[in-house]
Symmetry: C2
């Protein structure tokens, strides 16, 4: 199955020459082409689609900016497109694989220095290869009382996740909002410091986001206009107190009232962290697998779901939040939060001491205080050796919206024989409804079903006004196509920026639906 | 003195034809050229420089997007550059006047609709002509319990101030951070919705900032890549309690310790609003004028300053902050804040009941709860019929930094015979040191002094690593020139964006130092 493709429009000779020159730039070990086992690690083995359609031709791992510049020069010379990854763990969205087969993966994992942790001002500056786990360990070893908000899986990269506008679960859960300062290498090899970093002896590079003149950091996120080589991220000072809690709700349609309760608590920041209302199966999957409750194929019957909920003492919905601060503030806020949720009949309240040994509560409690871990990744085993793609439409924080979304997504899933595994992640004023579509990696028929289901869901969500904030490689064009107001005016802006910043189209073609000129002609 | 310049490189005939066609687009009344009194209102009568160097040739005020598109078409046809303003009250930074003489002011004041105020989700959508005062009145009339964070002077425009990355004094004081959703008309007349606004039936246009793909909103701030025609801004839900406070400190060098005390309180959000440490004269100028204490020329002597401080019961530094929330939370936070500030010898604490009838406390208390007013504008009368430009370098929140800045700025001011009128405005992790350089509008020698002083200050601040976040027309090139890391790599990005988004260079040439191609050649 391992196909060693060439980049489109590049001859075998040119490709070989490009690889030789890149090898010369980074050293033998760091240009991967002929070692197919190694090269295959850059494919998206979690894809529900055709793994060959995202297969890279090679991978190159520079160790610093100078080597990146050399690699870019080769790519420009031979027109060999690169696909940039930081730690390459963007699973569910494509892992380390390129959008377009034949790209050379530009793997930045060797650039893994934590360049600065500033305790006084509470920020870190990291290179792209630094994982959340590594940043956490760094802070722990030095007993630094600052939290980095992690992505759910610990192996995620700080730079890659932030650049992909990922979210976490502490009060700093909106990663791009707490980003400050970027260094970017453009396709022509020039190195840019954004914001205050462009001043001499910059004393506020990682303290004030916006600098002077056009603020450009945003155009380097979810895009392909440059290679981010450094990023500043703000860290949350450890609060004097921390109390994670869980509230369970018995009925499926409770999601309406739960969401109405949460909105004002979030906007007023009584719930300061990115809180989440977790559906039954998502909550259960950290602890049990489907086969323990249902041996048949297709959707788990309601009776089995009910037994599972009873056994595990969880609800059809399970809200996770946390209190932060000194005791009197936590007490004050909890009184309001408890009273609010108690309006929902059957609501039950739990703190850590009530859920000892509960793997789901435990990993949520960790995430909400910035401790990265790998538990959520284990959810994939719900069906056995699993994989997943996420469908994550953005919606207003309203009961009507949540119920409407839940109903059509559950019902559509069930039509396709797929369990609804979802959660509602609520930010300041937005709600990501994340539907995890889990499938068996070795079941081709199931993968086809998931793909069809995904398309139906996108169509349905789009018609109802819910756009996606992030998606898998195979759906980037489709999702980008839903941002089509006024004859796709925004996409045309992106294309203009692409053409002027990367005229040869060598950087991550197709990322977020942004294609270089040559590819648009096709 | 009224010079009716032509745009550079445009013949009198072409200019006349352009004006005629623009008049046809907007109606007789809204193309201002021959009525010099009206046209002069678009000049920067507050400038310390040559008022002619920023004199517009005409002004045009479209009423909607369709008229903007017509005006843009005429500007492209005759290459007559436009200078976009919203309410045109950007005083201290240039008012409504263009960077380059001869531009036609594109005045958006007629587009002054408040398109939506959403109580449930706490946001507003406004057109560029809406002032903070108008938005406030709208909320008051309908008894809507939401606060819009205003610029200090009430007549400032919401869109213009946010696009210029202005700051205010409530917890939503960083205006661009709480912006969500933009509509922009590009130079070619195409209309773009950014972020979620680009989706069909967009239900989250003003709830989630970042959308999908490159996030472009930032490039339309402090720049000239498009004309913003709509903007969403988040509003702060009225907290259940509000207690503004003031802490005075006796000695000039207390600024060191004050700043060290404030930093952790800000980062931990115990002080949730954009707090400010106000220097003696700034604080006094809301209540008295210089001549009441000192009749001589030059710097006010220390003895007079001391008497003024005693009379007014204020300090050499005066810290303003506010408590927000339910009583127990305010009590808890106040205990920590009071204990922290009490470490500074001589600190005195005041609440509203202690400062009844105090104009300075009163307007600060208003600003910190989102009530726009005009008091601060009155500070200009410190010297009589005054004007000002602001020098506002950005610095880390450290005692060393604050003291170093205060010393060199005070000493340099005094060398030039100018009073130090400053404040330190502290955001989440940044500090703007705002130095107000007040001068008499009719005193040419004094204006020359101020200009020279300004240049010296910029040089000094730059060498110490303090970049400016915003500046007056006459200094945009100078400040932009200090963001020169790596052979001005960031400026070259801005130029690339300018060239591709506005190839004819018709939009606000020179804004923030960003010039179209033709102007760069010169």
């Amino acid at each position: 199955m391992a196909v060693n493709r060439l980049p489109e429009g590049v001859s075998a000779e040119a490709f070989a020459a490009a690889c030789d020159e890149m090898r010369g730039a980074v050293g033998d070990k760091w240009l991967i082409r002929d070692n197919l086992q190694h090269l295959n690690s850059y494919r998206d083995s979690y894809t529900p689609g055709d793994i060959d359609s995202n297969a890279p031709s090679a991978a190159v791992a520079p160790k610093d900016v100078a080597e990146i510049q050399k690699v870019l020069a080769v790519a420009r010379k031979y027109r060999t497109p690169l696909w940039t990854v930081s730690t390459g763990r963007n699973y569910g969205y494509g892992g380390a694989a390129p959008r377009k087969a034949g790209c050379i993966v530009l793997d930045l994992k060797r650039m893994n220095r934590i360049l600065e942790v500033n305790e006084k001002h509470a920020y870190a500056v990291v290179e792209p290869g630094v994982t959340y786990h590594e940043l956490y360990e760094y802070l722990q070893r030095r007993d630094i009382k600052l939290w980095a908000d992690p992505a759910a899986p610990a192996w995620g990269g700080v730079v890659g996740n932030t650049a992909d506008r990922g979210v976490g679960y502490t009060p700093y859960g909106e990663h791009f909002t707490v980003q400050c300062g970027m260094q970017v290498v453009l396709a022509d090899g020039s190195v840019v410091e954004t914001g205050m970093g462009a001043t001499a002896n910059a004393s506020t590079r990682n303290l004030y986001k916006y600098g002077h003149g056009a603020w450009v950091d945003g155009i380097f996120t979810q895009s392909n206009f440059g290679v981010i080589t450094q990023m500043g991220v703000w860290l949350l000072p450890e609060p004097p107190g921390y109390r994670p809690y869980m509230v369970t709700f018995p009925k499926e349609d409770d999601i309406h009232q739960i969401t109405e309760v949460v909105r004002p608590l979030k906007i007023s920041m009584l719930i300061p962290n990115a809180a989440v209302t977790v559906g039954l199966i998502w909550e259960a999957a950290a602890k049990v697998s489907k086969s323990q409750y249902y041996a048949g194929s297709g959707v788990m019957p309601e009776s089995a779901r009910r037994k599972m909920a009873t056994d595990l003492d969880i609800g059809n919905w399970n809200f996770y939040g946390a209190l932060y601060g000194p005791e009197p503030i936590m007490d004050n806020n909890w009184a309001i939060i408890e009273e609010s949720f108690a309006q929902v009949p059957g609501a039950k309240f739990y703190f850590a001491e009530d859920r000892k040994g509960d793997a789901a509560f435990d990993y949520r409690a960790k995430l909400m205080r910035g401790v990265p871990n790998m538990t959520e990744f284990g959810l994939l085993n719900w069906l056995g050796p699993g994989s997943h793609i996420d469908f994550s439409p953005m919606s207003p924080v309203t009961g009507d919206g949540a119920l409407q979304q839940f109903h059509f997504m559950r019902d559509t899933c069930h039509e396709y024989g797929v369990d609804y595994i979802g959660e509602f992640l609520i930010g300041w004023r937005d709600m990501h409804h994340v539907l995890m579509l889990v499938f068996k990696r070795d079941d081709e028929a199931h993968k086809r079903t998931i793909k069809e289901l995904f398309k139906v869901l996108v169509g349905e969500a789009t018609s109802k006004g819910y756009g996606e904030y992030r998606t898998h490689l195979d759906y980037m064009d489709m999702i980008s196509g839903t941002y089509n107001w006024n004859n796709s005016a925004l996409a045309r802006v992106n294309q203009s920026l692409k053409d002027v910043l990367d005229p040869n189209g060598i950087l991550s073609p197709g990322k977020s639906g942004i294609w270089p000129q040559d590819d648009r002609k096709g």
